[in-house]
Subunit: 253 residues, 4 copies
């Protein structure tokens, strides 16, 4: 029988600014990636997010991003591998502070946005990120794009990895996500998105924008928690997975 994890970014509010349906989306996902204050989130938001996730018994991961609040961490910044290492250690540490004070454990680490995308294609950056994770705690699971350099780096360093696929994003024939700056980056139709997810989990394949099948591994599915539509979609995905006899559960036991 197939199993898959369902993950979502969480805790992306900042000060007075609110983003996301954090409390509600927790009813659908099995893992959350908590923003750590660089691209989004702040200390108060992080504490509340950790409390929420612990209440709902959802697995918690760090979601380290670039130092770019105004760009929400989505703009590539030409950082060195050493800088990547340092900002990942810092942000995992900061979130661990709240896990220690609230009495929880960190399950995984998933880089955010541009850091995630740059790492997917950059071996040195990926090795620096994986090493940062390993040196803080070798038991942490590294989430990365299926087939990416980040997954390879995690394996090289000796970390457990989880290959991630996206429910509402389209793919290129090399297995990368279609850039958000291009047309057709997002799958607008829910049924299409759900069908893509089911096929990725069951067959390990996705149809690229170029019309060819790409082979991938689907350990965890990323869905989004912000937007008016997020909860309806999350419900739809989860129910469809269950109907397709795919068990939704977190990577760690």
């Amino acid at each position: 029988m197939n199993t898959v994890d369902l993950n979502c970014d969480l805790g992306e509010s900042f000060g007075t600014y609110r983003i996301g349906n954090d409390a509600e989306i927790l009813d659908y996902v099995t893992s959350v990636n908590v923003a750590c204050g660089f691209h989004a989130g702040d200390p108060t938001v992080m504490r509340k997010t950790v409390q929420l996730a612990l209440e709902k018994d959802v697995k918690i991961g760090a979601h380290p991003g670039l130092q770019d609040l105004i760009g929400f961490g989505r703009r590539n910044i030409n950082i060195s591998p050493q800088e990547a290492y340092d900002i990942v250690v810092y942000q995992i540490g900061a979130l661990n502070g709240f896990l220690q004070s609230e009495g929880g454990n960190m399950q995984h680490v998933k880089p955010h946005g541009a850091l995630y995308n740059m790492a997917a294609k950059n071996k040195e950056l990926s090795l620096a990120i994986a090493e940062a994770v390993y040196k803080i705690n070798p038991e942490l699971i590294l989430f990365g794009l299926s087939g990416s350099e980040l997954i390879r780096a995690g394996q090289t360093i000796g970390l457990q990895t989880a290959s991630e696929v996206f429910a509402d994003r389209t793919y290129q024939q090399d297995g990368s996500l279609t850039s958000r700056m291009k047309a057709h980056a997002m799958i607008e139709n829910d049924d299409d998105a759900v069908a893509q997810v089911i096929r990725m989990v069951k067959e390990g394949k996705v149809l690229s924008q170029q019309g060819t099948d790409v082979t991938l591994k689907a350990d965890t599915i990323c869905i989004h928690g912000d937007g008016a539509h997020a909860l309806t979609f999350a419900h739809h995905v989860k129910k469809s997975l269950e109907i397709s006899e795919i068990t939704v559960k977190s990577i760690s036991k």
Copy 2:
């Protein structure tokens, strides 16, 4: 025989900006307070600072400050106790990241600048800070101004505390430091500063600006690591303590 700890703020550089003689001052002190990225410091500086301190076998503490890089954390900000709690957890966590990745342990926590000064007089703020420290790790030692609310809060919460005195600052009759915004806040003459230190350690007393003696406890002495004069002064203080048969050693074994 008297013993005392000698502490210094460290890792206050930021990006291209350099402050302090970090490598050199480590030869004189027994504890360092490492900036955690809010009022000063950044992830790269924090890693290098932790590496330096571990090499020199000097005890490491977190030095959490207000979110005020431009004011170097020295301007009072009207934060709530909950905000104080959250920023302290975050910053201790972040520094712990580097201690974990470099293989070291945190000895203590000392709030920085305006956070330190506000906590000295504000019971609720102090309790929030002490609780943050305790919930992350009850073995951490809380550094605070001798006779302050912060020391009382640490004792209330159940933390080991270290009462701090200042080598080059003058005192008010209520035991508080003379504000940096007022005249005679700093002791300019080194011999006067050293004599004040020796008396604080040996007799537990300091002469206030009002001419009256203030009783205090001197578990740890704060000296500064920046400025052209810092190293000469550090050497002077340390040597004078030894000549006065005061053993300079860290709070923890």
Copy 3:
């Protein structure tokens, strides 16, 4: 016949974060206070906000705040008058950049949040702010709390001033606003708020929380543009003013 200006804070979004119904509220107000990137707003938001206000022919003012994005500029920071002067010059200048590039003129300056409230009671801070405004352009109108030090400072420096009252905030017997941290700071009932506004404009009086009447001057009324209820309330206030034969128009012609 009575006239009054209706003003609203605008352009408080930041990066991905959205606040306010900026386009809609412009149909009700005659002046807007545009955030300048310190407590809220960013360069892109500022340009769009200026474009919107120019399209709707609403008067534009700068809304300089403290360097405290995470606190939305609402937390008192112990800045010096010189620092207040410098941050006000900077922010007025920055907004003027967009007025120059878009072909518009600045009408007024209204400090934001904690800067506004600190200035209301602090003569030196108010004089520094008023001097900053005057030195950039002596034709600018200074908005401040009716009866405050800021209004007095503007008059001392030689600026035209506009005394501001608040539609949905309660007053203390000394003419200050009830702090947001206290109960009953906000008037929840719309009819009560509107009745207070009408009386302030027509009689120059408001009933304080202590039960005594406070005399004030109502050149401009502040309403809020964020929150689900904002547009309904704005409509209600404007219509009620018109029914009461009060002309709503901007301070400058």
Copy 4:
């Protein structure tokens, strides 16, 4: 007879952090590029820098950079042309605030660091920057790397431009500067640097790292104001120019 402008970045300190010999370097240069608070500088530093430059009667320009204080604006960030436009308008405006309050005029605009380097090769980015400058004030002079897209964009938009060469940097055969991340990016020997400058001004040529001559235009020479060696070098360059019968004077009269 040959003439050339000598320019230097100024006002790069931030809060407590000090960089540069600002007061001293003003005795050697004829134009300064003032940091505007994004990659360096802050409101107080900007005011003081403007005051210093006005006292010494040196021409003042804006030095807008990327929103990257921790990277000192030297790391490429993947911004859109619209974002470039917005941050340039904002920063020119902010500096203009201090020029207005201090009674001076802006002569030029020179993008900083990564923004300068990205613009040198990116036509769309350059056009956005040039348009921002033009829309604020068409009389401003645009400084850009000799032979770059930025100079072409300035000409396209209708701005006066000044082609810049570097005293202590080596060149590639395509006329670009050797990246600071590569070996031999800097000319370490002062006599070599001075000889390169003289040849660039007199012959309009520089020997590239590939051994071929590159043709360029030298309207203004960039020297650095930070580092122990800066003043000696500035003195050396200026004296050598004068000995070579090259008049050092600002671009505008």
